[in-house]
Amino acid sequence: MTGPLLYARSRALPATLAALAGTAAFALWAAGRLDAYLDPDRRVPIVALAPLLASAVIGASLYSASDELDRTAVHRWWPRRLGQLTALTALAALLVVPAVLGHADTFGPPAVIRNTLGCTGVTATAAVLLGARLSWLPAFAYVTAVYLGSSAARGRAATVWAWPMQPGAQPGAWAAALAAFTLGAALYAARGARPEGVGG
C-alpha cells in the first residue's frame, strides 16, 4: 500500500467519506418531508443542521493518533492539512446541496454552502484549540444558540452574528462564514489538531 493511501487511512478518510454520504442522504430524506415548495423558510433546519453534521464529521477526521511521530515527517505538513480540509469541505458542500435545490436567494444552495464553510471553519479552529475529538462542540453550541435565539434579532449586526440562519443572498453572513473558514483553515494548516495523548 502506498504512502498517500496509508495517510488517507490514518485519518480515517474512508469512514469520513461514508459518514458525509450518510449525512447528505439524511438531509435529502428530511428535506423531502418538509413540503418546502410551499414555504422555503421551512428549510431552515436543513440549512442549519446538515452543514453542522458535515462539519462534525470533518472535525473527527482531523485527529492524528500518532502526532509525535507525525511531527518527524520530512515533508512539511501544512499542504497536506490544507488539502485535506479544503477537499472535504468542498465535497461536503456539494453533497448537501441536492437537499435544498432552488430558492437561491433565501434558503437554497448558497445558504447551505455558506454554512458548510462557516461551520467547518469553526470546527477546524476548535480542533486546533481543543483537539479533534471535541471539535464539533463549539460549532454545535453556536449554531444551536443562534437557531434558538435569532428569530427576534434584527439589524445589520444580526446578519453577521446570526450567519447560520440568514438567507443565501445576505452579504454580512457570507463575510462572517468566509472569515470563519479562512481563520480555521489557516490555523489548522499551520498547527494541526491539538495533541490528545496516546491513541490506538
Binding site: 509525535e68 511521530l69 520530512v74
Partner: protein, 256 residues
C-alpha cells in the same frame, strides 16, 4: 566525528526550565541518558528529534543546524525516534504502521517493503507482521515502536524509555540490537534502568534538574559506586546515586 552537537540549549516546559544552558557532543556509539523524573531527559530527546523547539541555543545534527527547514529535512531522513508514548493508528497492521513511518521519512517507495520486513524482523515480530497493532501486547507494541524507529537505518537514533514493558528476555535481545545499531550510528537511550546502561551503552550522561550532572563510561560509573557509600544493590546503582549527590552538593555545579 560528532553526530550531535548541542550548545547553550535552554528549553522551557510550561513554566519550568527543563534544560538549562546544556552543552553536549555525542558521536557514534550507544549513549545512555540517565536521571531522575523531571531531570530533562524527555525534553532533550524531543529537541534532538526535532519535534520540540528550543527556547535558546543551537542544535546541530549530522552537521546540519536544525533551525532551518532545508537542514531539518535532510536530518529527518536520517533520524529514528521512539517517543515515550507513541500513538498508533488502530486499523493499521504492523507492516502498514512501519511503512507509514517509512513514508514520513520519504524513503524510496521501492525500498520500503524490504526495509519494513527487515526492521520488523530485527525486533522479533516477523511472525506478527500482518497482525493489527491493536491486537498486540504492550511489550509487542513497544517493539513495533522500535521497528518504526529503525526502518530507515538511521544515523541518529533516539529512544525514550525503549525497554518499558519488555520482559527480561526481550530486554536482553534489545540490548544486543542496541549494540549492533551503535556500531555505525549514534544511539541515545533515555532510561531509568541502569542495568540496561551498564550492559549496552558505551557512554553515560546523567541529567539532573536540566543540567549535566555526570558524563563518563558505564565502567567509570560502576567504579564510582564501588568506592562510594551510597544506596543501591549494584555498584552502578550506587555510582548513579553518588554522582547525583555529588552534583547536588553545595558548590559542586560549577565544577561539572
Amino acid at each position: 566525528m560528532s553526530s550531535i552537537r548541542v550548545t547553550g540549549l535552554r528549553v522551557r516546559h510550561r513554566k519550568t526550565l527543563a534544560l538549562d544552558s546544556l552543552d553536549l557532543v555525542l558521536g557514534t556509539g550507544v549513549h545512555g541518558l540517565l536521571g531522575p523524573n523531571g531531570a530533562g531527559k524527555t525534553s532533550l530527546i524531543r529537541v534532538l528529534a526535532t519535534v520540540a523547539r528550543p527556547d535558546a541555543g543551537r542544535v546541530e545534527l549530522l552537521g546540519q543546524d536544525t533551525a532551518g527547514h532545508r537542514g531539518l529535512a535532510g536530518v529527518r531522513r536520517r533520524l529514528g525516534y521512539l517517543p515515550q508514548e507513541f500513538g498508533y493508528y488502530p486499523g493499521f497492521t504492523v507492516r502498514e504502521f512501519v511503512a507509514y513511518v517509512a513514508w514520513l521519512k520519504e524513503m524510496p517507495a521501492a525500498d520500503v517493503p524490504a526495509a519494513v520486513e527487515r526492521a520488523v524482523a530485527r525486533v522479533g515480530l516477523a511472525d506478527r507482521i500482518d497482525a493489527k497493532v491493536r491486537t498486540l501486547s504492550g511489550g509487542m507494541v513497544r517493539r513495533v515502536g522500535i521497528a518504526q524507529a529503525v526502518v530507515n537505518d538511521p544515523a541518529v537514533l533516539l529512544l525514550d524509555e525503549p525497554t518499558a514493558g519488555l520482559d527480561p528476555e526481550q530486554r536482553v535481545e534489545f540490548r544486543e540490537l542496541l549494540r549492533a545499531l551503535g556500531a555505525s550510528a549514534t544511539v541515545v537511550v533515555s532510561t531509568h534502568l541502569v542495568e540496561d546502561v551498564a550492559a549496552a551503552c558505551t557512554e553515560v550522561t546523567l541529567l539532573d534538574a536540566g543540567r549535566i550532572a555526570y558524563r563518563g563510561t558505564p565502567e567509570a560509573l560502576t567504579r564510582l559506586g564501588e568506592v562510594s557509600e551510597g544506596p543501591g544493590d549494584h555498584p552502578i546503582e550506587r555510582g548513579y546515586t553518588a554522582a547525583l549527590r555529588a552534583h547536588r552538593a553545595p558548590g559542586a555545579r560549577e565544577a561539572v
